[in-house]
Amino acid sequence: MTAIQVENLVKIYGPLRAVDGISFDVANGEVFGMLGPNGAGKSTTTEMIEGLRKPDGGSIHVLGHDVVKNVEPIKQRIGIQLQTTSLFQKLTTRELVKLFASFYKNTLPIDEVIGLVNLEEKVNTPSKALSGGQRQRLAVAIALINDPDIIFLDEPTTGLDPQARRSMWDVVSNLQKRGKTVFLTTHYMEEAERLCDRVAVVDHGKIIALGKPQALIHDNFDETALEFSNDEQLPESLLANLPGVERVQNENGITTIYSKGVARTTNALMALVERQQTELRGFTIRAATLEDVFLKLTGRRIRD
């Protein structure tokens, strides 16, 4: 059975179509990601699937249940981490996990869940005294307490340091190994590329690309990206005429050249730089990423 089926989902806030006709399916055991910039409609979509907001159009089925009609039957089987989670301020980590555990029929041992997110040292700290990242991990722990079949993680790694982010990735990978379905949103392409079986790239409430991360990249690019910043702004027309160059994109002072012949393009670019008597800063050569997909499709970067 499909874990999540979303069809033509719409949410309207005044003049804004925050979610504008989104459709996708998530298979059981899949890690599915929504990638998009601020305000793209990720949280709105997620919370409609969780039954916390009512859609203005479209249908949602989770584990076969129509959640627009009634979300109660599946609440025991899903785990939710909201983008911002507020809890009783003066209760400790353990007390909070215990409280939430009491709402469910089947739960994992409290210490096991706390261990999953590496909060053992903070079991007796009031939630008010936790750092932003620790609070985020506590929120994930609470989402896992009922050993759910589907876990919703809305930006689980925002605000985490690199090490905590990596261990959160491990948490997600382990969930996947145990056959759980994970629905997550993120700003980070690296995260989406590493964790997700499939990614929906969203912008302005619409899905602009959907598929396996690598496939998305290859479908859009067989080029390599050369990236640099250059204060004097080498004229785009010159760059576009260098050998091997497919496209040139300029954004926030960062120039990206997509090339099908890295060696030729690089040599010609360096010659050009010398001739123009200018300098390149932060020159890198890299494979195309989801960021490039987004840039190509929208003309903007995900994180501005």
Binding site: T84, F88, K90, L99
Partner: protein, 375 residues
């Protein structure tokens, strides 16, 4: 589930020093100060003037009934009649009124000319009571007593029985001091503030901060959340009122003339009523700021106009209507009746029905308008 929710809220509350201070310590300080200020004195020894201008049979009857307050019914201890030391004097309106102005009298009862005539011809007539408002403890009490006397005379008339069978019961059977009068008010005040500050505001905060939203994402049923929330506030309310009563009793030997069970019943009812009102405020307030504004808008007028600390007589008619609508009016009245046998403003039945009515209506409305999320 219930136990965990209840415990969590209790912890959240007990670890909050400010909340503890306002709910437990503040009423204690309050009652101690009032106890020290008004704990002394035992009987009313106020002087009251009576102006009898009525020539008919009813006027003199009223006058002597009022003067009869100093006499203790046979078989009762004169020491327990708080009015036994009062002084009455009769005289002309102009004379006695100037005495009242000067402060030589604390109250004045005017029985106007033609009172009996108008009543016998079916016209309504009224007795005027003027009180020195500076005697805050005595004034409302005396007004209530006279009102009772007038009413019982009135009842005699409508039943068209001989007027002489008028009965004035000894209204008080024990010594009443300032502190005894204040304790019901303090209780009523803390119950109301429990509803406003300890129920409405935390609920609004939980909603605007998103705590409720997180609960909504779990299988926790709404009724369970509300029941545990009410249970927790009810505990605080009972704790608070019992502390006030216990401290009042132990430190100042505050009067509780009615039955303890009845008192607890009234306390329970009004605590539940104000929790329901708090829920309603929480349901309609969108932000913490508007919540604060609404609670203050309810708090102050009720505090000053419901007879918590001073009498609610002498207000313009339209304001009387407003006061009649305040739930706190009925709380104060019920508590005063049961604790000190105060002259009733409403019958216990009315107090019961009105408070139950508020409780039911507010509960229904707040469940109807309950929201998990701020936007």
């Amino acid at each position: 589930m219930f136990v965990q929710l209840y415990l969590s809220q209790w912890r959240e509350f007990a670890r909050d020093r400010m909340a503890l201070f306002f709910t437990i310590l503040f009423p204690l300080i309050f009652i101690s100060i009032f106890g020290l200020l008004y704990g002394g004195g035992s009987k009313f020894d106020e002087k009251v003037g009576i102006v009898l201008e009525d020539q008919g049979p009813i006027g003199p009857q009223l006058a002597s009934a009022i003067e009869g307050l100093t006499q203790t019914p046979e078989g009762q201890d004169a020491d327990k009649n708080v009015f036994s030391d009062m002084k009455f004097s009769r005289g002309s309106a102009s004379d006695l009124e100037s005495q009242l102005q000067k402060g030589d009298l604390q109250a004045l009862v005017i029985i106007p000319a033609g009172l009996s005539d108008s009543i016998t011809s079916g016209q309504p007539a009224s007795v005027t009571v003027k009180v020195d408002q500076s005697s805050q403890v005595f004034a409302p009490f005396f007004q209530g007593v006279v009102d009772n006397i007038v009413q019982s005379v009135d009842q005699g008339i409508t039943q068209s029985k001989p007027m002489l069978t008028m009965q004035v019961q000894s209204v008080l059977s024990s010594q009443i001091r300032g502190i005894d009068l204040l304790v019901p008010g303090i209780l009523a005040m803390s119950i109301m503030q429990l509803g406003l500050f300890a129920t409405a505001q935390p609920m609004i905060a939980m909603r605007t901060q998103g705590v409720l939203k997180r609960f909504n994402a779990t299988p926790l049923p709404r009724w369970m959340l509300l029941v545990s929330y009410v249970a927790m506030r009810l505990t605080i309310g009972l704790l608070q009122t019992i502390i006030i009563i216990a401290v009042g009793k132990l430190m100042f030997d505050v009067a509780i003339l009615g039955s303890i069970v009845a008192l607890l019943g009234w306390l329970l009812l009004s605590i539940l009523m104000f929790i329901a009102i708090g829920f309603f405020v929480a349901a309609i307030a969108k932000t913490e700021e508007s919540g604060n504004a609404i609670t203050q808008l309810i708090n102050f007028p009720m505090l000053f106009l419901s007879g918590v600390f001073f009498p609610v007589t002498g207000l313009p008619d339209w304001l009387q209507v407003v006061v009649k609508a305040f739930p706190l009016t009925y709380t104060v009245d019920a508590l005063k009746q049961v604790m000190i046998n105060a002259p009733p403003i409403n019958t216990p039945m009315i107090n019961l029905v009105v408070q139950l009515g508020w409780l039911v209506v507010m509960t229904v409305l707040s469940i109807r308008f309950f929201k998990w999320e701020a936007r």
